[in-house]
């Protein structure tokens, strides 16, 4: 049995190392590069337009001569900021809806769950497109469009968590001890919900980044002058057809890699928190 378990454990450790290393490297790049190397969006250098990857431009230059690597790092920073704000917005909405539905119950719960089903029936990107179209492409419109479409999963998780907490002895003890609703909420429910909410936020950031880049790619996200990953992929499309793959495909790696890293980490965490699954995997 151990002979089978060992290579698997090795693979799993390697994937964990890859995930953590990717996130650390990208995180450091996003934090450290912008203060050191300034990016002026207005500066174009047509003499160095469309250069393939080389030592001075590791990921080449785009069709107006801007360095793709530098712009991608800036783009990741923009996408990450928008993604994080959008995740916080949708987690807040989802958390509140789930909390109210779970703790009030009854008709309120049923109505809220129907509303949730309704939101889930509209394809998220379509709703996002509609919102951005009506309020012109801007970071705020993108945040709103991600926020109002992504809260449903969080609401479900929080609701079911509240429902299961409600019947636990320590909550019953608090209520029979005369604690007010607000006190039960603050002292007993929220501390239990907090880890779930933090995990949900982290897991939602890649989703939100995906949503933002998809909208920007369609020309409906961040304003075209901003160095966002979606805008860069979209701008690079023209050069792609003439064979310059880097202007469009390289920025995409800055979406694929962190998303993959977060997914691997989440997978790892899930296996760790669930030992039964872990032992099943190593069988």
């Amino acid at each position: 049995m151990t002979s089978v378990a060992l290579p698997q454990a090795g693979r799993r450790r390697r994937s964990l190392v890859f995930a953590v290393a990717t996130l650390v490297v990208l995180g450091l790049a996003v934090l450290l590069v912008p203060p050191i190397v300034q990016l002026d969006e207005r500066i174009v250098d047509l003499r160095s337009a469309g250069l393939p990857p080389s030592l001075s431009h590791p990921l080449g230059t785009d069709e107006v001569g801007r360095d793709v690597l530098l712009r991608s790092i800036y783009g990741l920073r923009v996408s990450f900021t928008v993604g994080m704000v959008a995740s916080l917005v949708s987690i807040t909405i989802g958390g509140l809806v789930g909390l109210v539905a779970g703790s009030v119950g009854g008709t309120v719960d049923r109505v809220l769950m129907r509303v949730l089903d309704g939101f889930n029936s509209i394809p998220h990107l379509l709703l996002g497109i509609f919102i951005v179209a009506m309020f012109s492409p801007s970071p705020v419109a993108v945040v709103v469009s991600v926020g109002v479409t992504h809260w449903t999963t969080t609401a479900r998780i929080v609701r079911s968590e509240v429902l299961s907490l409600r019947s636990r002895p320590f909550i019953e003890a608090a209520i029979s001890g005369g604690a007010s609703r607000a006190r039960v909420l603050r002292r007993h429910l929220l501390p239990h919900l907090f880890p779930h909410l933090i995990l949900a936020t982290v897991l939602m950031i890649p989703h939100a980044i995906w949503h933002e880049t998809a909208l920007s790619f369609l020309g409906l996200g961040l304003p075209p002058h901003m160095a966002s990953l979606g805008n860069m992929i979209s701008d690079g499309q023209r050069s792609l057809l003439t064979g310059d793959w880097w202007a469009s495909l390289a920025p995409g790696l800055f979406i694929v890699l962190p998303t993959l890293a977060v997914a691997l980490l989440a997978n790892h965490l899930r296996d760790r928190l669930n030992p039964r699954r872990r032992s099943e995997l190593s069988l």
Partner: protein, 326 residues
């Protein structure tokens, strides 16, 4: 049969108010929008158009009347089949949709079939050769594929197959030089979009089929079938795969929103002239009449997908059929 009818009735009872709420919501958003539809319609000409003319257009369109009156008028027309005029294409919305819907249905239909057949085969192989290098490549690839945005995958495929290898056209419906729609030419142009849509949607399916076949391979009846000396293929397909398929139907229906999203992005990447890419064009031009219809169509697709999945489940699983439980 009674069960199915009751289910359809129940779903419709949910769908009608939902669609009404969606229309109200869309209309409210459009009214709150800072864009002036008349200026949008005129484009650059708005600069040189006299204010009186703009007023007249406003009057013609009824934009100067109270919002509630506008909404009921719009909804009334809508219910009678008058969807208004698309400001992007300068044609009636109904015509634009009728022109484009078949292309979307064709491409997504092919993609769904390809995705189903492909994931069933690939997922079953992975489960059958569990923990071998084949399985590791398949499940690792499917896991990684979940992190790849479909538009990036589309561009990658375009670069490899259209630009580098030159095997397939990079986009469009037909050859730019041709004046007629030749089925072979269309099929040639359809390969890349269909392939990309199918591949991007299939990773969860592959993983799901794999997990479920692995689960059923442990069941007694599969072991029994093996013990009776049946061929490996018979055991795999007739015994393991068949019962692994049931939950699959409901999940497929639940994935409809992702399919619509995928269609929007893939059609835009490959300039496929379907309704999904029309919604993007409509959004870019703030073309409310067309955008409203495409949004409703997307919602209808999701509701229809859920309903079809439930019906399929009822037909496939005799327990649900006779007992009425899901």
């Amino acid at each position: 049969m009674r069960v199915i009818l009751r289910m359809v009735a129940w779903r419709v009872a949910f769908a009608v108010p939902l669609l009404l709420i969606v229309t109200v919501g869309m209309f409210a958003l459009a009214k709150a929008s800072p864009f002036d539809p008349v200026r949008q319609y005129l484009g650059d000409r708005a600069m040189v158009t006299a204010p009186e003319v703009m007023e007249r257009i406003r009057e013609n369109w009824g934009i100067d009347r109270p919002v509630l009156e506008q909404f009921t008028a719009w909804l009334g027309n809508f219910l009678q089949g008058d969807y208004g005029e698309s400001r992007t294409f300068h044609r009636p919305v109904a015509e634009v949709i009728m022109d484009r819907l078949p292309w979307t249905l064709l491409a997504t239909g092919c993609a769904i079939v390809l995705m189903l057949v492909g994931s069933l085969i690939v997922g079953t192989i992975a489960a059958w050769r569990r923990d071998s290098w084949v399985d590791r490549v398949i499940s690792g690839g499917a896991f990684a594929n979940e992190s790849v945005p479909v538009f990036w995958l589309g561009l990658l495929a375009m670069w490899v197959f259209a630009v580098q290898l030159g095997w397939l056209p990079a986009g469009g419906l037909t050859d730019p030089a041709s004046t007629t729609v030749d089925p072979l030419d269309v099929a040639h142009h359809m390969v890349l979009p269909v392939l990309v849509l199918a591949v991007s949607q299939s990773s969860w399916l592959v993983l799901f089929v794999r997990e479920s076949v692995i689960g059923t391979l442990r069941e007694d009846y599969v072991i029994g079938a093996r013990a009776r000396g049946l061929r490996e293929r018979t055991v795999l397909v007739r015994h393991a795969l068949r019962s692994a398929l049931l939950p699959f139907l409901t999940l497929l229906g639940a994935r409809m929103p992702e399919l619509v999203t995928g269609a929007i992005l893939v059609e835009s990447v490959f300039s496929w002239p379907g309704v999904a890419s029309a919604s993007v064009q409509a959004a870019l031009a703030v073309d409310f009449p067309l955008l409203a219809v495409t949004t409703l169509l997307g919602t209808l697709a999701v509701l229809g997908g859920n309903l079809l999945a439930d019906i399929g489940y009822t037909i496939a699983d005799p327990r649900v059929r006779t007992l009425g439980v899901g």
